[in-house]
């Protein structure tokens, strides 16, 4: 389309054609473009001839790999329960308060196994050192007298150690009421005797 034709169908375009596009460029831009392109080519050539290769998509995935690694490093391996650090102060103070209270020795804790061991030992000794015929009925008073006369010199710990295997198989939970036993021990046995 020649200019006269343009004038005919597009007079405004024909009028402003000489004005050009209106674009400009930085000063001396075209003086330096060859050097810029040569530098770019040189850099590209260097990277292509180093002989080193990288796995496919390595650079594309590098950011994700590094970020993932950083995230792992920042997350401790050991996890703590949810809200643990919110309540740790209270828990520590509760522990401290418990430690300040005087210790109470529970008789139930110590005397139940001792009493059980004593009872079991007694039964066993009776069967071992029985001076009477096994076919005869033994009166309780005779047994008490026999013990009082010092025929048994083993203490309860020695007995328990000696018959440890047998004692382990003895269940006292269903045969001895622990409350009754504790009452009995509290009422009938003085505390001093525990330590003598």
């Amino acid at each position: 389309m020649t200019l006269p034709e343009l004038k005919h169908i597009a007079p405004i375009l024909a009028k402003i054609q000489k004005k050009g596009s209106g674009f400009s460029i930085p000063e001396n831009y075209f003086d330096e473009i060859e050097n810029a392109i040569s530098d770019k080519l040189f850099t590209a050539t260097l990277s292509n001839t180093s002989g080193h290769k990288i796995p496919e998509n390595y650079l594309e995935q590098l950011e994700n790999t590094v970020l993932s690694k950083l995230e792992k490093e920042q997350t401790p391996n050991q996890k703590v329960p949810k809200g643990y650090f919110d309540s740790i102060e209270d828990q520590v103070f509760n522990q401290l308060a418990l430690e300040d209270k005087p210790k109470v020795i529970s008789l139930k804790k110590y005397w139940i196994p001792v009493a059980a061991a004593a009872a079991a030992s007694l039964a066993l000794l009776v069967s071992i050192y029985n001076p009477f015929s096994t076919n005869q009925n033994i009166k309780v008073s005779e047994i008490e007298q026999w013990i009082d006369e010092g025929n048994i010199e083993l203490n309860s710990y020695e007995i328990a150690e000696l018959y440890s295997d047998e004692l382990e198989n003895i269940s006292i939970e269903n045969t001895i009421n622990t409350d009754d036993l504790e009452d009995y021990l509290n009422n009938e046995i003085s505390e001093e005797s525990f330590y003598n």
Binding site: L6, L13, I16, S21, G22, F23, I25, I37, L41
Partner: protein, 179 residues
């Protein structure tokens, strides 16, 4: 310098660097303005121009001389410009047409756009054309290129180009008249 001689020197490893510098000196301005009118922004045009020359350097061994060296380089520049627009639009998750509008809207604040009001209006009108019409219009209207040359570059028939240009002129004139 004769195209055949220049191509021979470009394809010879002993003379390629010197010949390539001559090639850039010869075509840098024409290619720059061709690219600039597609991407509109100077920095983007600079990037595309450099990429175009680098592509020419790497592919010169494959140049068979079926078309003129000038046409071959223009084709590369055109493709690089279109690819640039598409990539930029994709990175912004918008269509190329929307990006074209953004680019032309940026012209008002562009220190490297000295156009007056009517020239700015003209750029807004050009941005509303389909891509091929836009490229044909720029080559014919601003660069006064002959249809034969445009035909060789864009690998389109002269008749098709004339139709494209005619439609573009009519549409732009209508837009300018309305405003």
């Amino acid at each position: 310098m004769d195209d055949k001689l220049l191509v021979a020197q470009l394809q010879d490893k002993r003379t390629v660097d010197q010949a390539f510098r001559s090639l850039m000196t010869e075509y840098k301005e024409r290619l720059y303005w061709h690219i600039r009118k597609i991407v509109l922004n100077h920095d983007d045009a600079d990037d595309v121009l450099q990429n175009t020359f680098i592509k020419v350097y790497h592919n010169i061994q494959n140049f068979k001389g079926d078309s003129k060296l000038f046409s071959w380089m223009y084709r590369i520049a055109t493709n690089e410009s279109i690819t640039f627009i598409k990539k930029r639009a994709k990175s912004q998750q918008i269509e190329s047409e929307e990006l074209q509008q953004q680019l032309v809207n940026n012209l008002e604040a562009d220190v490297y756009f000295d156009g007056d009001e009517i020239q700015l209006k003209l750029q807004h009108a050009i941005a509303q054309l389909p891509q091929k019409q836009r490229i044909v219009f720029n080559m014919r209207y601003f660069d006064n290129m002959k249809y034969d040359a445009i035909s060789e570059i864009l690998e389109t028939s002269v008749g098709g180009l004339k139709a494209n240009y005619h439609h573009a002129v009519k549409k732009i004139e209508k837009i300018l008249t309305q405003n």
